[in-house]
């Protein structure tokens, strides 16, 4: 079985991501209700007893990874790829260079 860590941590992480994804009224969303109900029903604790619990925890951890990665990817995209064309100076600055000054020409 994969090394998943604490189910409580996964649960909290999921709620956090769902809050970010849904905006203000996240407690009434189907996703929130489903996650809370699932964890409550199976009472995922740190005791590695029930196989169904382990499967649920893996599923929850996978969904958490999905939400988190999508959010981070979208943020990176917005930061680096979502702003249209950059000037040559900005592009050079991205990799830490500065364009030389060219007398009477471009730059």
């Amino acid at each position: 079985m994969a090394a998943l860590g604490s189910p409580l941590r996964t649960f909290r992480g999921l709620l956090r991501e769902l809050r970010r994804a849904s905006g203000r009224p996240y407690r009434h969303t189907p996703a929130y209700r489903h996650v809370v109900a699932a964890f409550r029903t199976h009472r995922v604790t740190s005791e590695k007893l029930c196989r169904a619990q382990q499967e649920l925890h893996f599923q929850a951890a996978t969904y958490l990874c999905l939400l988190r990665s999508v959010r981070q990817h979208a943020a990176l995209h917005q930061e680096y790829h979502g702003k249209g064309e950059r000037s040559p100076e900005e592009v050079a600055g991205l990799v830490g260079f500065r364009l030389p000054q060219q007398p009477g020409g471009k730059g």
């Binding site: 079985m1 994969a2 090394a3 998943l4 769902l18 994804a21 849904s22 969303t29 189907p30 996703a31 489903h34 382990q54 499967e55 893996f58 599923q59 951890a61 996978t62 969904y63 990874c65 999905l66 990665s69 999508v70 981070q72 990817h73 979208a74 990176l76 995209h77 930061e79 680096y80 790829h81 979502g82 249209g84 064309e85 991205l94």
Partner: protein, 281 residues
């Protein structure tokens, strides 16, 4: 080109899935690429149960696939996750972030028109050039890293499925016995069509059948599978430094896709009545 020239359609449906194409966007992109973003045209997202399964409602309109079929999924949890994707969109709909929706569209439309046998064949074909079997000889540090990180997973797969896989530094890749391939073919045949779409998707993302089986069998987490898939990149990053707008961008995208695919497979396999013939539990 596409800019903001959109009036809300009468029967809205998303443009062809933008998976893999990435954003065309304004100011760049290919001339004929469909828009990867359009404005959010709905207030509320909800799910309902129809004859064929669970459906997604955007306000009062039922979501359709790119080929205009009714969007129905067999699992309620999957429907909820898809609904969450749609509800997460703010001003514009970023299709390239909606991996579960894309996977469902692919399963429903089957645009490549492959049947189960063809999907399985495509999946098992990856074994010949499986990332974790394909080793370098130098630099020595990388070869060592591959051995330490990948050998245990290969060993796990060999044990779990009772097959011989091995690894190779030859440019031709590992020599996989036919019996090994047959074992995987018959194992994959026990999954339904939807789950198979998901499995094949993860394999093409991670470039590894073995890592994918590790995920499906819950032997490794998504983060671990992606790390192992990108082992050489991670090694180079350690040596030469990290470039956020390339490395982290790719890392997050691969994690998102692998996580979506894995979740998709598990949610589509739950209600399946086919018993998996496990050699070892």
């Amino acid at each position: 080109l596409w800019g903001g020239r959109f009036s809300p359609p009468r029967f809205p449906r998303p443009p062809p899935a933008a998976a893999g194409r990435g954003p065309g966007g304004s100011g760049g992109g290919r001339a004929y690429a469909p828009p990867a973003e359009r404005k959010r045209f709905y207030q509320n997202v909800s799910i309902s149960q129809g004859e064929g399964g669970f459906e997604i409602n955007l306000d009062h309109r039922k979501l359709k696939t790119p080929q205009a079929k009714l969007f129905t999924v067999p699992s309620e949890a999957l429907a909820i996750a898809v609904a969450t994707e749609w509800d997460s969109q703010r001003d514009t709909i970023k299709f390239y972030t909606m991996h579960l929706t894309t996977l469902c569209n692919t399963a429903l439309d089957n645009p490549t028109q492959r049947n189960k046998t063809q999907l399985i064949r495509a999946a098992v074909k990856f074994l010949d050039t499986d990332t974790i079997c394909y080793r370098v000889e130098e630099p020595a540090a990388l070869a060592e890293l591959q051995k330490n990180e990948w050998d245990p997973v290969v060993a796990w797969a060999e044990n779990r499925y009772n097959v011989t896989i091995g690894s190779s530094t030859s440019i031709l890749g590992p020599n996989i016995p036919a019996s090994t391939k047959e074992t995987f073919v018959s194992h994959l045949a026990s999954y339904n069509m939807w789950a198979l779409q998901g499995i094949e998707y993860v394999i093409t993302q991670l470039k590894s059948l073995i890592l994918t089986m590790g995920l499906i069998d819950r032997h490794i987490t998504v983060e671990k599978a992606v790390l192992l898939s990108r082992l050489e990149e991670e090694y180079q990053i350690q040596r030469w430094g990290n470039v956020e707008w390339a490395h982290d961008y790719d890392l997050c995208e691969l994690r998102a896709r692998a996580a979506a695919g894995t979740l998709f497979v598990h949610l589509c396999s739950e209600s399946s009545t086919v018993k998996h013939k496990l050699l070892q539990d």
